[in-house]
């Protein structure tokens, strides 16, 4: 083998990719990093402030509340949507016209733009004219998502479940279809109960699609913006104001670019860290023994 370098021209072939990545990711990200360490008064007047914005942000109670809310929301989303999605996938017909019908029906919520989903539920939940809102009120339940924080939370969660459970269900459905029939036959012969079939055959085979499902749902729900913004506007009070809305208020509403940039980076790192933890935990379960 000859390891002697004749010339380095091949590096020029990497240049287009480097430029593309630079303009699409590195430069915008570094701009944010740049903002996060400066106090900017106007275009020619910026002061380097080091880690001050980071310290500020981490001790900001509005942000801490928002972060806590965000974790509770994402946790609830995963706890409801993952089991529910699996359950729906298990109950779906495996072949024939009904199977196609179910697939199309499930796909519909996924095809609706996010702010439209917010609008749909905003109207659906209204106590005066909304189908759900006025129904709940007519059966004696005083439901009003605009004034009651619990009701607002309930509505936002329900909306997200409606919007995204389909994704988990479709992923699991495809995972289930990939299990050869021989496993079910063997389980029948081995006198396995329905629970044992689920626990030892279906669930292990669903693991790879569930890794994707959990990660997608965590990242998406952690970055949710349009739907609650349209539905509740973050209210009542700030009870349904999640992280991205807080960030937008800070960056665009108050034009605090420095703190907002620091916030963005922390936000990004949290998503990265939690996703990594999920991924490691789930794949670690597999590598035992």
């Amino acid at each position: 083998m000859n390891l002697k370098v004749h010339d380095n021209k091949a590096w020029f072939l990497v240049l287009p990719v480097l430029l593309l990545v630079a303009f699409s990711a590195i430069i915008p990200l570094m701009t944010v990093v740049n903002y996060s360490v400066q106090d900017i008064f106007d275009i020619n007047n910026a002061v380097f402030v080091g880690a001050e914005w980071y310290r500020d942000i981490l001790s900001n109670p509005r942000l801490q509340d928002s972060l806590l809310r965000q974790f509770v929301f994402s946790g609830a989303v995963l706890l409801i949507q993952i089991p529910l999605g699996i359950l729906v996938a298990l109950m779906m017909p495996t072949k024939g016209r009904m199977a196609s019908l179910c697939l199309v029906t499930l796909a519909i919520p996924l095809l609706i733009p996010w702010n439209v989903v917010g609008t749909i539920w905003q109207i659906f939940g209204r106590a005066d004219i909304g189908l759900m809102g006025s129904f709940l009120n007519s059966v004696g339940f005083e439901y009003n998502y605009a004034s009651n924080p619990t009701h607002a939370w309930f509505t936002v969660l329900l909306m997200d479940v409606w919007h995204w459970t389909s994704l988990i269900a479709l992923l699991c459905y495809s995972g289930l279809r990939a299990i050869p029939n021989a496993y079910y036959q063997a389980a029948k012969i081995d006198q396995a109960s329905a629970w044992a079939v689920f626990r030892y055959i279906q669930l292990p085979k669903l693991k790879s699609v569930l890794v994707i499902g959990v990660l997608l749902r965590f990242m998406d729900s952690f970055m949710i913006y349009a739907e609650p913004f349209v539905l509740t506007g973050g209210g009542p009070g700030s009870s349904t104001t999640f992280l991205s809305q807080t960030l937008v208020q800070m960056a665009i509403g108050q034009f605090d670019l420095g703190p907002a940039a620091a916030f963005s980076l922390i936000y990004f790192l949290i998503v990265l860290l939690v996703s990594w933890l999920f991924f490691k935990t789930i794949t670690h379960l597999d590598s035992k023994k």
């Binding site: 036959q185 063997a186 029948k188 081995d190 006198q191 030892y200 023994k289």
Partner: protein, 365 residues
Amino acid sequence: MAEIKLEALAHSYLDKPSKAHDYAIRAMTHTWEQGGAYALLGPSGCGKSTLLNIISGLLQPSEGKVKFNDKDVTGLQPDERNIAQVFQFPVVYDSMTVFDNLAFPLRNLKYPKAKIDKKVNEIADVLELRDVLHRRANNLTADEKQKVSMGRGLVRDDVSAILFDEPLTVIDPHLKWKLRRKLKQIHEKFNITMVYVTHDQLEASTFADKIALMYQGQIVQFGTPQELFEQPAHTFVGYFIGSPGMNIIEVAIDQHNAVFDDVVIPLNAALIDDGVTISNNIKIGIRPEFVEVVDAASADSYLCDVVDVENLGTYKILTVVLGRQQIKVRINEDQTVPIDKAHITFPEKYLKLYIDEYLVKENIA
């Protein structure tokens, strides 16, 4: 522990079967006795696996009944029939260890832990799985996976029967022989009815006391390996069993002789009655092992051309032409090989007559 009876059993995968050809299993009545070791032998697509799945309850037959010890189980699921089945390709629960795999059927039946440990260890010993007992099943080789698959069928000693659907397909040849011996030992030890599906006659005859030979959805013969060899009840049995298969020649009957291409072969008079003339599908058959090569012409010998000699080590296969028919003859290595021309005879005892493909039994009366 059970005697398995199939009564007027038939199965079709079509909704409205009309012709005989629509049936994967054509009407059959058959009994597998308690404690027997049986092989279900036949070519691919003859309905062996279908029949096995009907016995285990994975498949509901279109017609007829399945009975275990005279109890009708036709409508029952496999778990209600308490039966074990091993599939052609290994099915292991890959999230579990080998131990958990083997223990799975016992745990489902809520056996006490001590008994599970004992049974699993016993089977692991028999199948030589002890070294991998605590490994995860998805890291095993194909051989080991199939052994685990078989082991799950064997751990329960109270089953009505154990059904094997070509279980050694993926196993290495040198292990096949060993595992067949193991199965036989397990059979002798626990006295469980075993039905073993295969398309390999050697596998069938080493495992089973009795072989059921299936052809086009029917059991065409049920008997010991020797019976299948010496008295093929159907031309297909003659063709399928033996290597090479039986020589089968289409003939016409003239009085007590079989005639083809100007060759006249006298038949045992006891075989022929008036019924023979009714059919025009008449064949004679003789195994290559039973055709005799004689040194000189005699009254009952036929002169034929030798066209090919295959040397297979301990024996040779001659291909000779008589009339326009090719006939295979097996001769031992110590016999002299005739050159160009050979005189052959057809011993009457081994010359079989088939009408409409079925054997004509000697007419004693």
